[in-house]
């Protein structure tokens, strides 16, 4: 037999620039590389010397699709380090903002990036010719998520209202109440999305994932909770770097994150759902039952259903928060120092999964060290493991078919390559 190479020079319908390289020899998969060639932007380097107050706005620019996640992890890390506790209403508003980002990001993935794979189109625009109702529903949902972010944050991409300690200005009750009709409609559309996704046909695949996500005593996790895994790990975010290590590989500008024993793991909607199924709200719970969604999803193609269920949850949670909101006395709390804190750490749940930040500050509050571990750098190795399985199972397909199967396997995890590329360790400095 001969060598066979599957190469995709530029992956489509993912955020950022990545390529795929697979080498097969005598029906054995010899090499699988998710090549991330997105140029590095060195965030962790230029954060040094910036004021801690600038971290939310600067790190937001790592990703235009999930800027709120960066703002949240930065704020929580710094507040944790500085001993700041924002008011309960601020906490609720942050959760509301995150709901907006989850809705927007998941709607983008479910309808514009992922659904075309199941229905056989190159994109949602062409899909709209035959499935106009579905695409309109997706765009409407996405718009609702964006409306929520714009109302709370000033705009949907790189919102301006988030600051360490809270918000620059908290909305009035009326400002939030105006969102209710939009959110109620979105909730119905999200439920319809779950039914829509349940009508897709899924290849039967099971992967042995180690799921990693936050878990909170009462809530489906967004901003707070312990880091837990499906194999029994349970640690506070401050111990993240003891359990998860980053490796640099020659074929990628994004560092690979692995478990302490070198194994891959998965963060994101499938992990959150598997570890927090019992924390869903009543509407999300009911719709998951209605379509027969298993409590632990190990088929990556079915991640589309989990994203849809999470949208239902985000809509019902947003409505709950809007309904009980009372503006806080002060929009933010601030620190008068001392600022020389060596370890300000936190993790929150970005739409694509766990996002860890660590900062060290000097006496004046300037950042002396920053470390950011994005969901996609954590999932990279696991995506390569998925790919190896897909290729092994699909060796009888022709090259076009096999390439398509590989691209779908990658899109199952909604990778955000822009995010992954900019996160980097400080290993060199430590050694």
């Amino acid at each position: 037999m001969t060598d066979r190479t599957i190469a995709v020079d530029y992956l489509a319908r993912v955020e950022g620039e990545g390529a795929l390289h697979v080498r097969i020899h005598d029906r054995t998969v010899e090499e699988v590389e998710l090549r991330i060639f997105e140029p590095p932007r060195f965030f962790e380097a230029f954060l040094r010397g910036r004021s801690y107050l600038e971290a939310p706005d600067i790190t937001a620019r790592i990703c235009g699709i999930c800027p709120v996640a960066y703002q949240m992890s930065a704020c929580h890390a710094l507040e944790h380090g500085l001993g700041l506790t924002p008011a309960p209403a601020v906490r609720a508003l942050r959760r509301l903002l995150y709901c907006g980002e989850w809705i927007e990001s998941h709607a983008l993935h479910v309808y514009l990036l992922h659904a075309p794979d199941f229905l056989g189109y190159p994109d949602a625009i062409r899909m709209a010719k035959d499935h106009p109702e579905a695409v309109h529903r997706g765009l409407k949902l996405k718009k609702a998520g964006n409306a929520l972010m714009a109302r709370l944050g000033g705009r949907e991409i790189h919102p301006v209202n988030v600051r360490v300690g809270g918000f620059y200005r908290c909305p009035s009750r009326e400002e939030l109440d105006e969102l209710r009709p939009t959110l109620e409609e979105a909730l119905a559309l999200a439920e319809e999305t779950v039914r829509f996704a349940a009508s897709f046909s899924f290849p039967s695949v099971e992967e042995p994932y180690e799921f990693v996500a936050l878990r909170h005593p009462e809530e489906y996790p967004m901003n707070e909770g312990e880091i837990v895994s499906s194999r029994g790990l349970r640690i506070p975010a401050t111990r993240f770097e003891e359990e998860f290590h980053e490796l640099q590989v020659p074929h990628s500008h994004a560092l690979h994150s692995v478990r302490r024993d070198g194994g891959s793991y998965l963060v994101g909607p499938m992990a959150r759902y598997a570890l927090n199924r019992d924390r869903l709200g009543p509407r999300a719970d009911a719709i998951a039952r209605e379509v027969g969604l298993e409590p632990v999803v190990t088929n990556p193609f079915r991640s589309v259903l989990v994203r849809a269920v999470e949208m239902v949850y985000a809509c019902e949670e947003a409505l709950r928060i809007v309904g009980s909101y009372r503006p806080p006395d002060r929009p933010f709390v601030s620190s008068s120092g001392p600022f020389d804190v060596p370890g300000c750490m936190a993790a929150t749940e970005a739409p694509r999964g766990l996002l860890y930040h660590r900062y060290a500050l000097d006496r004046s509050g300037e950042i002396t060290e920053a470390k950011i571990v994005a969901p996609t750098s954590q999932n990279q190795k696991r995506i390569e493991d998925d790919l190896r399985d897909v290729v092994t199972r699909s060796l009888d397909l022709d090259d076009a078919g096999l390439t398509d199967a590989c691209e779908r396997a990658i899109r199952n995890h909604d990778p955000c390559i822009s995010c992954a590329t900019h996160f980097l360790t400080l290993d060199l400095q430590r050694n």
């Binding site: 530029y10 992956l11 489509a12 319908r13 955020e15 950022g16 620039e17 140029p39 590095p40 932007r41 060195f42 962790e44 380097a45 230029f46 040094r48 910036r50 004021s51 600038e54 706005d57 600067i58 620019r61 990703c63 235009g64 699709i65 800027p67 983008l108 514009l112 990036l113 075309p116 190159p122 994109d123 949602a124 625009i125 062409r126 709209a128 695409v135 765009l139 996405k142 718009k143 964006n146 000033g154 705009r155 949907e156 991409i157 790189h158 301006v160 209202n161 620059y168 200005r169 640099q248 020659p250 500008h253 560092l255 691209e407 822009s418 980097l424 360790t425 400080l426 290993d427 060199l428």
Partner: protein, 263 residues
């Protein structure tokens, strides 16, 4: 009809993807737009890709790696109209902070094996390398302005994108001036409008994400900010964010340097 539709392509260089996402954020306009233009290359949204030439190319991101140079020249050669979108493409973006530092050190801070990483010493706007027909500012761009630019170029007219300051937008919105009334540092007087004056509407100062306005007086603003008690390092950082490499902001930051005379 399909054969006569103008072709649109979207390309990405070093960036966060937010400006091309703005096109997908035009939820109400996306499908009607796709009827008027043929989207032939937009990798974030479609796996169907057709070669150029393109009637309109939208370019996001800045030039940061050696292969970018050849790629942007090739895109230019294939595009009737080339519009750059966002602070990365029009000014080098936040990653242009490397222009004021030693990039080798940056690479070593970030990567354990820096020899794997090929990067240029600077992050530069597209305009530094090829002719650009229009620069749409913002970090991120504003979607109404994006639609205006696309519509204008399809209609072969110039886009109506004001280059006035955020102050004018702020007054029209009815905001209280945060600089005058509250003494909050604000870059609004030297920054181009287009965002809707959102920062002052949320009780904070403008941080300049649309870059310098047409007729800015940064030295005058810097004097005011120093009078408000801003220290030189903070003043320098104020100008050095998402448009740090834009000439006016670059000069203002240099003038604010702790080692130079206060302007």
């Amino acid at each position: 009809m399909a054969a006569t539709r103008p072709t649109l392509a979207v390309f990405k260089f070093a960036s966060c993807d937010g400006c091309q996402l703005t096109l997908l954020d035009c939820e109400d306009e996306l499908l009607p737009l796709a009827d008027r233009v043929e989207i032939v290359d937009f990798r974030e949204a479609s796996s169907a890709v057709r070669a150029g030439p393109y009637d309109l190319a939208l370019v996001e991101g800045s030039v940061t790696i050696p292969s970018d140079l050849e790629r942007i020249r090739s895109i230019r050669a294939n595009s009737r109209v080339l519009v750059t979108i966002g602070a990365c493409a029009t000014a080098g973006g936040i990653q242009a902070l490397r222009n004021f530092a030693d990039v080798r050190e940056f690479r070593e801070v970030v990567y354990a094996r820096p020899e794997f990483i090929e990067t240029l010493a600077t992050s530069t706007p597209i305009q530094d390398h090829v002719k650009v027909d229009f620069e749409l500012r913002g970090c991120p761009i504003n979607k109404v302005q994006l639609l205006e630019v696309i519509t204008a170029f399809l209609g072969r007219r110039s886009p109506n994108v004001p280059k006035e300051s955020v102050c004018l937008e702020c007054k029209r919105r009815g905001n209280v001036c945060v600089l005058v009334a509250h003494g909050t540092p604000c870059l609004g007087p030297v920054t181009q409008a287009g965002c809707g004056a959102i920062c002052p509407a949320f009780d904070r100062g403008c941080y300049g994400c649309f870059g310098p306005q047409d007729t800015p007086n940064a030295p005058s603003l810097s004097r005011t900010l120093v009078q408000l008690g801003m220290e030189p390092p903070a003043l320098q950082r104020f100008y050095r964010t998402f448009n740090a490499n834009a000439a006016v902001f670059r000069a203002a930051a240099e003038a604010a340097s702790p080692t130079s005379e206060v302007p």
